[in-house]
Subunit: 438 residues, 2 copies
């Protein structure tokens, strides 16, 4: 693995930004995720690091001489996306982390200058962190595969290929948007609309999918592969992904070429990219397999990967309806799956993606597919939680929900915990459902 | 439709570039396709128009004052891709066509200056014509759908959704390359390799797919749709596409999410983009349907589209093996389908793609999927021509071919014909198969 635990993970480390030290803060000094933001009505974004409830403006910090030794990253830090920074590789990323850590640490004597580089999150607008060249969506929860498979093919719910490789499909890159962008209910053809001669109708089965995404750092050339032990040097960092899905459109269109317009109307990502460096303490063993399962194919396993290929993340989906907001009710937790329950790791996904010589480019987004736990109540999408559209959820407001309704807000959240370490969070990936297009 | 027949389609028009006037020339003055080229060892490309066996360097022509009235397109013509030009819309594209036509017409008195802007095709290297943001591959030949469907599900070879909408899937944008780029035989998992515990092996069922692609000109915003009658104002021009396919990988990986690594190792496009203006004389009625077929859904038809939505293109696939080359034998024609035999038009594909609010961006590539004629001998891929891997072709060299072998060269070609008009061609989309990755 390319990342090691060092002093930036010391749980006792505190920042002079006091909000970062509060219990439950998602962005303590041990995290320092990167993103693109603007403030004061600017249209172009600039690069920042999250600390407590503030954003450290990295352009301003660099120009103010507060990030010594990072002169070679000046062009990247003056960019309006993370792509150039991502292309610099793992050692440049770690050098940046360490410089930001020193600047924000309580021992820094230069607090007055550094404080001038802070922008309150509450006054900032977040942008998409990277230009995404290609977006790949995988399908790596065996619990999700089994429960959705049982709906359409109860005899063989998990297809034979599932245990041999991380199944994936190409997603739509143009409609990857940052958290906060509203989700307009899509129109499309469904089996019912086609049978009735109605053509395109508003989707009635609008669903979320809780996923974890990985941004590619260094790419590779067409015709080359990336080995399992080299894969992590091509991974920059992680975010939360909501792969919005119109199930009624999906069921009708997906045979034989897979999901298309059921997904391409929008995919949301959380704005803060949690780097592999920040995640180092939360690495866990890759999933093991039973004796009745096929052995891992050569190329998708190694001793290092087996020991550390997984990442432990406690995930959450929350819902707040229009009625709940009007009655002052807090969002309700719908599901709490764990990322380490996936059958395949992000490292294996990246390796598999290049196994045929396909080239990855800096900024590409690889997403895990729905993260669903072993128990149905910890499923990462409604179509599992409602048993294929048959069992509506009862909400604390007295309402019921089968699929999403206009006005609903969905939040995805994720936090990494480990004994002896400070927890770090991903922030939120949020969107409100708006009524259908006119 | 946005394009009209005008004096640039006059079949009597001749160019002072004599090779453009020869019978069978694919790039007469009535065509003027656009592309990106370099010469003399330059690495960056510049924009040109094809005329006979020459390329008109449009940057040089503009800088030499030979393209009057196009000052507003200066930045686009100085670019290293067609994207900016594509974003200017249909009227700018037509103004450029007319200016190039006047410059290259025999009546031009300024031939000496203009001739200095010519670069022989034989000394130029062609580049990918546009930066492709997203690549969508459709599946719009009912003959291809039926013949491939019969292999896996003889009871219902054409799925019920096929006649209701143009089925498509997201392709891989990073591995779209220009004609001439060699195709390295991909490795991957197959059902047989998985059963034998072998993991990733070289594909043994490597195939081509003859397709016609459309580059998007003007895009649309997320959450908006493009109507069937507005769709052509968002189409810039067409090229040939070879959607290389590893059938053994495809069969194993595609269920349930569709093709992924069986396609993403490479997709080739022809370098010259034939504009919608050049294609205006070759427009034909959109396909009609029998009384036993579902009516066209509202949104995918209009009187204008019904009358002119199709495009007539005579296509060809040619093969030359290593042995044929060594024995001085010409390439053999494998198949000659016609583009107007597709069940759905490119206009319908673009409209359908945005029906859910998905945003198109300038330079996006929409491809038709395999173009196969009603007769099996005019299929656009080997897996149809060889009846699912069961009937090898016998070649004039005495060799047989089931799927592609190392050293094979595949050419795609396309020409538009119509009585009373000068035929125009697409040039070639060519690649040689190289042995597997090491």
């Amino acid at each position: 693995m390319s990342t090691k635990i060092d002093h930036t993970h010391d749980p006792r480390a505190q920042s002079w930004v006091s909000s970062a030290n509060e219990p439950g803060a998602e962005f303590p000094i041990q995290n320092l995720p990167l993103g693109v933001f603007s403030s004061g009505g600017e249209s172009a974004g600039r690069i920042g690091a999250a600390i407590g409830d503030q954003i450290l403006d990295l352009t301003a910090a660099l120009d103010g001489g507060l990030l010594p030794g990072l002169e070679s990253q000046a062009a990247a830090l003056h960019s309006d996306s993370l792509n150039l920074l991502m292309s610099h590789g793992a050692s440049a990323r770690l050098a940046l982390r360490r410089a930001i850590f020193e600047l924000l640490h309580v021992s820094n004597a230069n607090v007055v200058s550094a404080a001038r580089c802070l922008v309150p999150m509450s006054s900032a607008r977040m942008h998409l962190p990277a230009r995404v060249g290609d977006f790949t969506d995988f399908f790596t929860s065996i619990h999700h595969a089994r429960r959705t498979g049982e709906l359409s093919r109860p005899d063989v719910p998990v297809a034979p290929n599932f245990r041999n490789m991380p199944i994936g499909y190409h997603g739509r890159a143009s409609s990857v948007v940052v958290s906060g962008t509203p989700c307009v209910r899509p129109r499309g053809q469904t089996g019912a609309s086609a049978a009735a001669g109605q053509g395109y109708v508003p989707s009635q089965w609008l669903d979320f999918e809780l996923e974890v995404g990985c941004f590619v750092g260094l790419g590779n050339s067409l015709g080359t592969t990336i080995s399992i032990d080299d894969a992590e040097s091509h991974m920059f960092g992680l975010c939360l992904v909501n792969d919005w899905s119109a199930r009624d459109i999906q069921i009708w269109e997906s045979y034989p070429l897979g999901p298309f317009l059921a997904k391409s109307f929008m995919t949301s990502v959380s704005p803060w990219v949690v780097t592999l460096d920040a995640l180092a303490p939360f690495r866990v063993a890759a999933p093991t397999r039973g004796e009745d399962e096929p052995a891992l194919p050569e190329g998708l396993t190694s001793p290092t990967h087996a020991a550390h290929g997984g990442i432990s993340i406690a995930l959450q989906v929350l819902l707040q309806t229009q009625a709940m907001r009007e009655n002052g009710m807090e969002p309700v937790v719908l599901s709490q799956p764990r990322f380490e329950d996936q059958y395949w790791t992000l490292t294996q996904m990246l390796t598999h993606q290049t196994s045929n010589g396909c080239n990855l480019r800096t900024g590409d987004l690889l997403s895990s597919g729905t993260v669903s736990g072993p128990e149905r109540e910890n499923s990462g999408c409604l179509v599992e939680l409602n048993a294929g559209g048959k069992e509506p959820m009862r909400l604390p407001s007295g309402e019921t929900r089968l699929f999403l309704e206009d006005g609903d807000i969905i939040w995805l959240r994720g936090v990494c915990h480990r004994d002896g370490y400070r927890p770090i969070g991903f922030g939120e990936c949020k969107a409100q459902i708006l009524e259908e297009m006119k």
